[in-house]
Symmetry: C2
Subunit: 363 residues, 2 copies
């Protein structure tokens, strides 16, 4: 029970109209009927550490960040365990096929890598996030803006049941509470707080993404956004977050895990491509190689003139290229071997200029 | 003429094989035959200020940044004039339909806004950039990795001719020079140097984008990247530049103009959406409005209980909502007027909790 001395005067005044309503026993019974329970501070599964940022932010004067007094939960998992490695994946209800694909895929990979996928169970991105995690037989947690006994949205009744099978459905509103606009805002702060980071997959310019973004920023949580076509209105909110420097660009689950994971442990691999036979060539060797023709044999002197590399160096580099299989000398002169592929190569002319180039790869 | 005292020993050695080749008169005649000219320092149209960053970077020891000794140009425009407000639009040769669409559109809008679109005349993004600018009857400049008398790539012969009609084709290589890999690298530094900023529209992970990026960074030029689907290999290079913090996210010509334009003068407009009748509501008024039902009339006392707003405030807020056309009192109680649309609204229950929410908009 909250002693009235703990409650600020403003709250006492605002709740004056319902001070005398006591439904505690009724609420607990309603939760039990759907297999739910009330988790409060002091319980073994109360995620005190996860809620600390909310308490800290509230302490700095951000009234909206006030931590929940308790959480109604439904499902087999333990709340604190589920939140140990958790990331939120959220976005537009009116998602595109692209957004739904990316959300499902991202959540699948995150869950497969042991992350709990937190979302809001809404249509669109949220639903795909939960489904992706479930498909990977991973863990997922839905934070509702209504009671845990409500099926909202109605089309997600089955999905919510599946979530309770492997994870949890959570709400700070008691059973029976219906969704309303201000409750979504309150709920969004929990989504931001309960996870190490929040990924916005798709969002319109006017959307909850802004709201989640400011919550995440205030709570010191990592905000990430998935880019998309600049021609898509459903990616405009993500791009705005990126342009405003509020979110980090993430394209894959590895990027997300790098951003929220253990410092130094979870670095995303750098993208790689097939290597080319000429990758190892630099400076003079690259320039000499460029000067070679595939079909015409040329003298070392001519190659020196074309490449702008001194003749002594050319004479040292050509046998090295031959060892690498990049050049040969069938009869009197040197030529490029056919195995090697270089689309920008064209017959060189006597007019090659001197360049002091140290850069890595051509456009 | 360059006096040999100006030339470092390394250059003298590297060019030893072609020191005696003198084609000056021949080159000038070849340029004149295609309507071209050689622009050198001291000429009225020499863009000294545009090349300063190259000289500065070279002075800091970056050998590749060495400014050109002269520029071969073909076309009706004056070089220095064309570069007054210039931005480079570059990207992959193997562009997707998305990239080609965005490049064309971006260049069109940039040219329509008085910017000169600089690019490299390659297939894919480069070609679209030039075409977009030409379609807007704007100005465009192609920097080649071969002589200005060459038609490279062959399929862009007509495009190059169209560019000389409204802009310029430029190269630091004399007439007759064929393209070769190291010349593309040398050319890329000019594309980065000659414009106030460089936009990468599409790029693979292994691409010239990296090269252009390091040039732009070293020259203090603005590097921008257009996001795209994370499922597209042709956007992977752009996303890598964004993730590495080397480039700024740009989605529209307005974003580009803001990034390279006059400080404070060329700010991009913030995206806007339709306003809703409830946009002006905040705090208590929003909460009271949420508690109203469209069909059921409710007493002020009941609304106070539902909304968690003190009865005295509810009595003050309801007439205000009536004035805004958001509530009315047909008989004994208050209800929400039908004109207003709120998709998240659902029948409230007696169990609404107290929340101190100050956030702007729901998910």
């Amino acid at each position: 029970m909250i002693r009235s001395g703990d409650v600020p005067d403003a709250v006492l005044e605002a709740t004056s109209s319902r001070r005398l309503v006591d439904k505690a026993a009724e609420d607990l019974a309603a939760a039990r009927r759907v297999g739910g329970r009330l988790v409060v501070p002091g319980d073994a599964e109360w995620p005190a550490w996860a809620l600390l940022p909310l308490a800290n932010a509230a302490g700095r004067g951000l009234r909206w960040a006030c931590p929940p007094l308790g959480l109604w939960v439904r499902g087999k998992a333990l709340l604190s365990e589920l939140l140990e490695r958790a990331v939120s994946v959220v976005g537009a209800r009116a998602a595109t096929g692209y957004g739904e694909h990316v959300a499902t895929d991202l959540a699948y990979e995150l869950a497969r890598n042991g992350m709990t996928v937190v979302s809001g169970a809404a249509y669109g991105i949220d639903g795909c996030a939960h489904r992706g995690a479930l498909n990977a037989e991973g863990r997922t947690l839905a934070v509702l803006a209504c009671g845990i006994d409500q099926s909202y949205p109605a089309g997600h009744t089955q999905l919510l049941d599946r979530i309770t099978g492997r994870g949890l459905v959570v709400s700070e509103y008691p059973p029976g509470t219906q969704p309303a606009r201000h409750r979504f805002l309150v709920r969004n702060r929990l989504i931001a707080a309960l996870s190490a980071g929040t990924v916005v997959v798709e969002a319109g310019v006017r959307s909850g993404a802004r709201n989640t973004a400011s919550s995440a920023a205030a709570l010191g949580s990592v905000l990430m956004a998935v880019p998309g076509p600049v021609t898509s209105a459903m990616s405009a909110g993500c791009h705005e977050l990126l342009r405003d420097g509020l979110a980090t660009t993430v394209c894959t689950a590895a990027h997300v895990i790098e951003a929220v994971g253990q410092f130094g442990d979870d670095l995303a691999p750098k993208p790689t491509t097939e290597s080319r036979p000429t990758d190892s060539l630099e400076g003079d060797a690259l320039r000499v190689h460029e000067a070679l023709e595939p079909r015409i044999e040329q003298s070392a002197e001519r190659i020196a003139e074309l490449s702008g590399v001194a003749l002594t160096r050319v004479r040292a580099v050509l046998p090295a290229l031959e060892l690498l299989g990049l050049a040969d000398r069938p009869e009197t002169g040197w030529r490029r071997t056919k195995a090697n592929h270089n689309p920008t190569k064209a017959p060189p002319t006597p007019q090659t200029q001197q360049t002091n180039n140290q850069q890595p790869a051509p456009t």
